[in-house]
């Protein structure tokens, strides 16, 4: 077998490995936390290895498709591997490993089945990044969400239950909207395979165009709920601030699933730079205003936070705002900046939740509230980590946040609303600087009395090392910004190349340029709904 063939059969591995791991843990070692930890860490390391292998396999720019059950596309389900999906896989596996190492210092014992749910969550995430089918994307979203409901409640308590109810309710509504969108799109296009849809969506008759656009906008709405766009962001601070720290850190990747889905569906499938009247052009005008409002709401939330966890949660909202500004450009430069900022904000956002947890466990009953209290133990180390992470999330030099923001500013330089975008990002950075300096001074300097928290003899070292490693990851993202940006550039170009995607999945080069509306219901009868109404000659 050639190297490409070997990689093709490994595309399914990132979904199978967590599924088997989770099943083994719940069936064999459900009471043995030590074995669960060993298996869990080993499996996540293997997952990272597979993700890196797949990343290497498609780094030459090819797109690879795995057909489940060898059913030819578009009839069967396909998993599609390209630079974009492997980037997300590597990011997910790396973040998962860090979070897991943090959690095994004690958080995983505060509730049951942490590791099982964790791996089911990874299954859903990896599946969502790999799938090439819209309905399959829905299914993987649900897998991811079911696991996240369990993880969100990890540790118990009335507040988590209440926030959990809201979280589940909003996501059930989002799932319903997703299904309505799927039904609308299937009803007019007759297919749910993304590559096939890229072809068929351009052949939809004008009288069905409104239905298709409604479906596309509903899809955007669903992804917006996942990605916490204003005004659909309100569930996020409540959920993330109520979840346990490692879970909130893992959830840093969950909002990025929404961002990924927007890039994939409206960049690759519905987007095509060649013509102006694509579906991407229908949704694009909504994204930029929502993104700027998201950034504003997130920043206001950061300023108003009276707890560090709220600060970290609203920071997630604000970073999604900047990410969506970049995605909303829908060009190669915008997507390059978006991908860099996506990786950066996932790492920095997760690190912020973890360092807040380190602070909270040292402050007695004050926890993470921003009130004067006793000095904390290991303050020099934790203070330095907090300072560095704050630099990263605000976007001050020298860490990756600065370069990420610079790339976004640069990518929007030619945009028509340049001044609005630049003003929003720069003012938000200033506001975040104020909020983070205030929070840091309150926790580390406005102190009185005895030192509280575990001493060096009793403190867990591993969590601190994990947070330091995340900071190091952010730093190396900044140091290697040149090569990283080149890779993200190639990824962005590939993600916007619809014909190549279609050819790789369907195995033939279809004409995806806008063309005459079809006059017969469909060539392939099985994928189209029986009588597509209103063919022209009836």
């Amino acid at each position: 077998m050639t190297a490409a063939n070997v990689a093709t059969s490994w595309i399914i591995a990132p979904t199978i490995l967590p599924a088997i791991t989770a099943a083994v843990m719940i069936l064999v070692w459900r009471r043995d936390i030590q074995m669960q930890r060993i298996l869990s860490v080993a499996s996540t390391i293997a997952l990272l290895g597979i993700a890196l292998f797949l990343y290497g396999a498609v780094s030459d720019g090819q797109t690879d498709a795995y057909r489940l059950g060898a059913w030819p596309a578009p009839f069967g389900i396909v998993l599609v591997l390209d630079r974009l999906s492997t980037t997300m896989l590597v990011l997910t596996a790396g973040l998962a490993l860090a979070v897991l190492l943090y959690a095994i210092a004690g958080w995983d014992k505060r509730g049951r089945h942490f590791h099982t749910l964790f791996h089911f969550q990874l299954l859903g995430l990896n599946g969502a990044f790999l799938t090439g089918d819209i309905f399959n994307l829905f299914v993987f979203f649900e897998v991811m969400l079911i696991a996240s409901y369990g993880l969100m409640l990890h540790g118990g308590g009335a507040r988590r239950l209440r926030a959990g109810f809201q979280y589940v309710a909003i996501n059930l509504i989002a799932s319903s909207l997703f299904l309505i969108a799927v039904a609308l799109i299937y009803g007019v296009a007759g297919t749910l395979n993304m590559a096939d849809l890229a072809v068929k969506a351009r052949e939809v008759t004008p009288d069905n165009q409104a239905l298709l656009q409604t479906g596309a906008l509903l899809l955007l709405l669903v992804f917006a709920i996942k990605a916490a766009f204003v005004p659909l962001h309100w569930w996020l601070p409540a959920t993330y601030a109520a979840a346990s720290a490692p879970v909130a850190a893992l959830f840093a990747i969950m909002t990025k699933v929404g961002a990924y889905a927007i890039i994939r569906v409206f960049g690759t499938v519905f987007g095509d730079s060649a013509s102006g009247d694509t579906l991407a052009a229908v949704v694009a005008p909504w994204i930029l205003p929502a993104a700027i409002l998201t950034l504003a709401a997130g920043t206001a939330g950061i300023l108003a936070s009276r707890r560090l966890l709220d600060l970290a949660a609203f920071n997630t909202v604000a970073s999604m705002g900047i990410l969506l500004i970049a995605i909303g450009q829908f060009d190669a430069d915008g997507l390059t900046a978006a991908l860099y900022y996506l990786v950066h904000s996932t790492i920095a956002g997760a690190a912020l939740f973890l360092v807040v947890d380190l602070i909270a466990e040292r402050r007695g009953d004050a926890l993470d509230a921003l009130v004067p209290r006793n000095p904390i133990s290991q303050a020099p180390i934790i203070g330095t980590l907090f300072f560095l992470i704050a630099l990263a999330v605000i976007g001050l030099p020298p860490l990756s946040g600065f370069i990420g923001k610079l790339l976004v500013l640069n990518a929007t330089y030619d945009a028509s609303q340049k001044w609005l975008i630049w003003a929003a990002i720069l003012v938000a950075s200033l506001m975040m600087t104020i909020a983070f300096s205030r929070a840091g001074s309150m926790v580390f300097w406005k102190v009185k009395g005895q030192v509280t928290g575990p001493t060096w003899a009793t403190a867990h070292v591993m969590p601190m090392i994990v947070v330091a490693l995340l900071v190091a990851a952010s730093a190396s993202l900044a140091v290697f910004a040149g090569p990283m940006t080149k890779m993200f550039q190639a990824t962005a170009v590939q993600a916007l190349n619809t014909p190549a995607y279609v050819e790789a999945v369907l195995g033939r080069r279809d004409n995806v340029e806008p063309q005459r509306p079809i006059t017969t219901p469909a060539e392939s009868a099985t994928t189209s709904p029986a009588p597509v109404p209103a063919p022209a000659e009836h």
Binding site: R162, A169, T527, A530
Partner: protein, 117 residues
Amino acid sequence: MELLVASAIGLMTAAAVYLILQQRTFPIVVGLTLLSYAVNVFLFSSGRLIANKPPVISDADAYTDPLPQALVLTAIVISFGMTALIVVLALRGFLETATDTADLPEDELLRDMEDDR
């Protein structure tokens, strides 16, 4: 038949939206269930409403699209599981806090902190 199905979906959705906007957990759960019914019927009808035809290809016009039926089956299973989960959540929340409002409880920690200052 189209009018009947369409108005059934519309009515169920309207009732669901009204119920979901309530403040207590029980109406919200019922509303979500109604919404998932409406969505399932809508998804089913995306293959067009054709009566008394087999869901396999026999000849060009005499079959009904089998794919929406498979999609609905998946959607039913998922929404059923989710409903079970949210019922348990609502119950646990009620038993632990003795109230079934869907709002978040007031942050007692912060209130204590304010008193301290």
